[in-house]
């Protein structure tokens, strides 16, 4: 205090004290921000990122929230998350049920992005993977009830590939077919047109983020038949074909439903159709 009174100078203790106070205060703010960012960066399932968006954790580091994708979307489906929304503040998203992606061929939202948060490498909209359509409720989808609908199938921009119809027997009526919609992840872009078009009050087909919609086989899994196809031969010692110890002219094949007689080599039948002959075989020599 004595030094303080002398003039403007401060002593080392005061200086360090002040520094420490500021550093602690700011450190706490930083920690708070860090924790808040963890909580605030989870994307709710109904919010879909525009086409070409990087995986969510990378996206939040890349998107500078300028809103140019919002401006360049000709259908005006994109919105920026507002404070208080469940979407991270300022980042773009659309809601499939109310405004799905119309899959423009030139994908104008992507070149608008200044930071590659929307990957400029995506040039064919059919390669976009915004999410994945899932028939979430087989109890309310009227196709499963045996009624004709197929709206999702018909509205799909990659018609016949992303959603196909599987014909199944209608066991209730016994004489009709069910037209069951099946989504194929190798073609579905997650545009959401099907969810928008679903005729139910609450859509039975919904777009989910891919990681929620898809299972994933353990990385160590190998499907034998695929590996064999790839290699052109079995990768393990091939099974030795089982040798049945059968009389000449006969072989055993289950797909051929059991014992097969080779007609060309047909000799006298080695075994009589009468079991008693077999039992009595050799008796006459005695």
């Amino acid at each position: 205090m004595a030094q303080r009174a002398q003039g403007k100078g401060i002593n080392r203790r005061q200086f360090l004290g002040n520094m420490l106070r500021t550093a602690c205060g700011v450190g706490l703010v930083g920690m708070g921000l860090g924790i808040y960012s963890r909580q605030a960066s989870s994307l709710p399932a109904m919010a879909i990122r525009p086409p070409g968006a990087l995986p969510e954790d990378e996206f939040l580091g890349a998107c500078i929230r300028c809103g140019l994708c919002v401006r360049d979307c000709p259908y005006d489906i994109l919105e920026l998350g507002k404070l208080g929304d469940k979407v991270p503040t300022g980042t773009p998203y659309f809601t499939a049920r109310t405004g799905p992606c119309e899959m423009c061929e030139d994908i104008p939202c992507i070149p608008a992005c200044p930071t590659n948060a929307l990957d400029h490498g995506l040039t064919d909209i059919n390669d976009a993977r915004m999410g994945l359509a899932v028939v979430v409720d087989q109890e309310s989808c009227i196709a499963f009830l045996g009624l004709r609908c197929e709206v999702c199938f018909n509205v799909c921009p990659i018609r016949g590939e992303a959603i196909t119809l599987d014909y199944q027997h209608n066991t209730r009526s016994g004489k009709h077919a069910l037209f069951i919609p099946i989504v194929h992840s190798n073609a579905c872009t997650g545009c959401g047109l099907c969810e928008k078009a679903c005729i139910l009050d609450e859509a039975a087909i919904k777009i989910f983020p891919t990681h929620l919609a898809k299972g994933e086989l353990g990385k160590h899994y190998r499907l034998g038949w695929r590996e064999k196809e790839k290699a052109g031969e079995a990768l393990v010692t091939p099974d030795i074909e089982h040798q049945y110890n059968l009389p000449e002219g006969m072989r055993y094949d289950l797909q051929g439903k059991g014992l097969i007689y080779d007609e060309s080599k047909k000799q006298e039948l080695p075994i009589s159709s009468n079991p008693l002959d077999t039992l009595n075989r050799g008796m006459d020599k005695q």
Binding site: T22, V26, L33, S41, G61, I64, L83, P114
Partner: protein, 311 residues
């Protein structure tokens, strides 16, 4: 107690209202014009400027990027597109010329809020001592740059009141008004110039960016100063005035070198003696070159000292 007249009252009497508000009017015009240009698109459908302060495209050709935000993105691991880099180049070049914190006083939408808080504070006569150091903002700037490195997320943009205000007006405000109200109340009751002068890391960034910028306020006619204190009263960074205005006998240059100065020009407006003018950092009219140089050095020392003081 005799109520002190409003700062600038004397200037209005001497110079006339318009001249005593010249820079303030220009500044408000600039702030509102920028906002207005952005708003023309969504409101009227005339797309002169698209985007927001983070990144914008003017007439489809001119990209402008906020260097602080892009830096955070880069630290989070992004490789920006060429347009964004060109935009940063243009913005950095501009602020190197006119002064980094020109952003704060001529562009930033939060400035309208904090100026309103400051004005209300003066009218209501609210005085509150604050413990928050003016150097806190540089620490916070550090935090905004370390967090993307550590988390891979542009954390600051989740809460940044500046982009929230600007983006909010253009794209929908949501609950952002709570944060903006918070800034207003903070400046009104907790700390004078609390947000812009002590905490805002964006201002801190621009102040470092304009550390050596060309355009400066110069206390050219400081010998005319009549100690009315009006400039101190209105200045959001009072500490920057002292060396330039009072340094004549110590041979300190009349140029306000501190990069905390926002070049708002309010001191020029309210001075009835017309002490201040905009000039360049190389202003040396009444000094020989040598004294100017020593002045710069003393100024630097002084600045170091005030920095410590502030801390």
């Amino acid at each position: 107690m005799v109520r002190k007249p409003r700062p600038g009252a004397e200037a209005i009497r001497v110079k006339g209202w318009i001249k005593a508000h010249k820079w303030l009017i220009l500044r408000r015009t600039s702030q509102l014009t920028i906002l207005g240009l952005f708003l023309l698109g969504p409101l009227v459908g005339i797309w002169i400027v698209k985007g927001n302060l983070a990144y914008s495209e003017t007439l489809e050709v001119l990209p402008l990027t906020d260097p602080h935000i892009l830096l955070q993105a880069v630290l989070a691991g992004v490789k920006p597109h060429t347009d964004a880099l060109i935009g940063v180049g243009i913005v950095v070049a501009f602020y190197l010329l006119v002064g980094g914190r020109v952003f704060c006083s001529w562009v930033c939408p939060v400035n309208l809020i904090t100026d309103a808080a400051c004005c209300t504070r003066r009218m209501l006569g609210i005085r509150s001592a604050t413990q928050i150091s003016r150097s806190s903002r540089y620490w916070l700037l550090g935090v905004t740059l370390v967090l993307p490195l550590a988390t891979g997320v542009i954390v600051w943009e989740l809460v940044n009141p500046i982009s929230m205000a600007f983006r909010g007006i253009l794209f929908g405000l949501g609950m952002a008004w709570v944060i903006l109200l918070g800034v207003f109340l903070f400046d009104l009751f907790v700390a004078k110039d609390g947000w812009c002068g002590r905490l805002c890391p964006v201002g801190a960034f621009y102040s470092l960016l304009g550390y050596k910028s060309l355009i400066r306020v110069v206390a050219e006619e400081r010998d005319k100063c009549n100690d009315c204190m009006d400039c101190f009263e209105v200045c959001p960074e009072q500490q920057v005035i002292t060396p330039a205005l009072r340094g004549a006998d110590k041979d300190i240059s009349p140029v306000i070198f501190s990069s905390s100065c926002t070049n708002c020009g309010r001191c020029i407006d309210v001075c009835s003696e017309e002490v201040f003018h905009f000039g360049s950092r190389f202003f040396a009219e009444k000094h020989t070159l040598e004294t100017a140089e020593t002045a710069v050095k003393t100024q630097a020392n002084e600045k170091g000292k005030t920095f410590i003081d502030a801390a």
